[in-house]
Symmetry: C2
Subunit: 321 residues, 2 copies
């Protein structure tokens, strides 16, 4: 079962998901109902679209002792809500899986659950069931699976050539603080879905450099003006420590939990920003580029020189961090 | 976060679930919508009842190398389907969480996923999404969360005094083989829900001795004729090795995945068994007792002497096996 060779470490995460999807065969319906978007989408009856998503929070991997139990609980809820936001949906019901060693402090568990409550209460989330399971000492794993509704679900891979690419907020350096304290962009996602102008959407969790490929259809590339990427203050602070540029942090760091979306090409940037600012005066919005035909080029192209940005994440092997 | 004292090992699993439910506060609706039944039940719109359940399968805890990868995958699906069956429901869509070390053999993972496919294909289950996550070497954790429908959901705690208590199949010794190869009682659960005679239902996963309390309402006890409990052949084989009686194995062993349910008191055992046998000629059914007023007595009472059966599981602490 476990071995030093012929194991999963030779495959990237996306390759593994591809293999699992293939092995599942007919059990996996086509996207967006099946595997491959932020949420699965389906219609249980009549006009209702339901959406469903699941996310994991593992001690030592997605958080450590630098954040509080309440923050860890909030992060689990908000990671899921960010996927719901990306579809333009609203959360509804969830089930919770907790797996932990017998040495987990009861007070820590209480803080974690109260963090779930605080994050869920504001958006009317109901936790309707779950499962707890014992693991070896020192381990803590939590999983939340959320069911929601989306009147007009926003999906990936549905943009047209020429559509403008936008991001909310500011990017990079999230691990300094934001990863534990961010607010999922639910209102923004709902507004985009209602606007009728948004052609594709996803949330930024793996970093813009990687996630841009995720929003595109197969024959598309993203032409990006690197200098239009909104750089967070924490990306500058991270750059001081890492020796890399703040822009590289904004482009490549993960866990931004902002929305990445596309807007129809016939809507001017000025018009869209005016509407946006009326709705969300406090939330920065940036047009960072356009969807273009790939014609065999890299998925992400820098408009300055027409080539792939020189800093991009390397191959992300499943054995990597 | 982890400590040798004031940790979760001082609480039983049910105590922990009670605490988590309390800490969740208003995030947890009342049963059967909320925590406490085999599945959560809710009506998304109109007449449809949706049900939702989640179950965990951990290497070294719920299975070991004595079963194949395909059997492990099948067990994960069937554990969930057994909860769906207990509600008289039908499975529909599911999301899958896989967490494993980078040393997991790719061929084993393929076998596991193909085991999921085989178990899900027969009941038209669709796996519409999920999440994969890296853990330390040697670890494998899988979770499936299933959404289904139930026209008339069967619940726990809804039996009346005098109702007859039944179990399907034969009990005990499941760890010898059945835990990895059982078939969830979906058709039986659906038939019971349609019969209009079934007043409460659950699946047997922790053993009859413990699960009987789970089907009762607060003021109820179960008066059981111990000698009417159907003893599996594997319970006899287990008894030869353990030195305990086969009846004790049938009463106390877990992982039977049979249905435990109650039938209205005005339906005679002979009439019910006749109807059952017409529907399921191959599936044994046993009337093992009646729901009685507790009046401060033990939750489970042996009809032979009016006291609690002398063999019952001890306190199941979260630190225990």
């Amino acid at each position: 079962m476990f071995s030093k060779k012929n194991n999963v470490s030779n495959s990237t995460e996306s390759e593994l998901i591809g293999l699992i999807t293939q092995w599942l065969g007919t059990l996996n319906p086509a996207t967006p109902e099946g595997i491959g978007d932020d949420c699965a989408v389906f219609q249980p009856a009549g006009d209702i679209h339901q959406i469903m998503t699941t996310d994991t929070l593992v001690y030592g991997r997605h958080f450590d002792n630098s954040i509080s139990a309440e923050q860890a609980g909030g992060k689990l809820v908000n990671r899921n809500l960010s996927d719901i936001a990306a579809m333009g949906g609203l959360p509804d019901r969830a089930v919770l899986n907790l797996l932990f060693g017998a040495d987990l402090e009861l007070a820590w568990l209480e803080g974690f659950v109260k963090g779930l409550r605080k994050a869920g209460a504001g958006v009317n989330l109901k936790i309707v069931g779950g499962d707890i399971c014992r693991l070896n000492p020192g381990l803590f794993i939590s999983i939340l699976t959320v069911l929601g509704t989306a009147p007009s679900p926003l999906t990936r891979g549905t943009a047209q050539i020429g559509d403008a690419i936008y991001v909310t907020g500011e990017l990079g350096g999230s691990l300094r603080q934001k990863h534990a304290t961010f607010a999922p962009r639910l209102a923004e996602g709902e507004w985009l879905a209602e606007s009728g102008r948004c052609t594709a959407s996803m949330d930024l969790s793996d970093g813009l450099a990687k996630d841009l490929s995720g929003i595109l259809a197969k024959e598309q590339s993203a032409e990006i003006n690197l200098h239009s990427i909104p750089v967070a203050h924490d990306a500058h602070l991270a750059a001081e420590q890492s020796g890399r540029s703040a822009l590289e942090h904004a482009f490549c760091d993960g866990e931004d939990y902002e929305l990445l979306f596309t807007i129809q090409s016939n809507v001017s940037e000025a018009d869209f920003k005016m509407l946006w600012t009326q709705a969300f005066p406090q939330r920065r919005i940036s047009c960072i580029g356009r969807v273009v035909e790939s014609s065999g080029r890299a998925p992400v192209i820098n408009t300055a020189d027409g080539t792939a940005p020189r800093f991009t994440r390397g191959f992300e092997h499943f054995s990597g961090s």
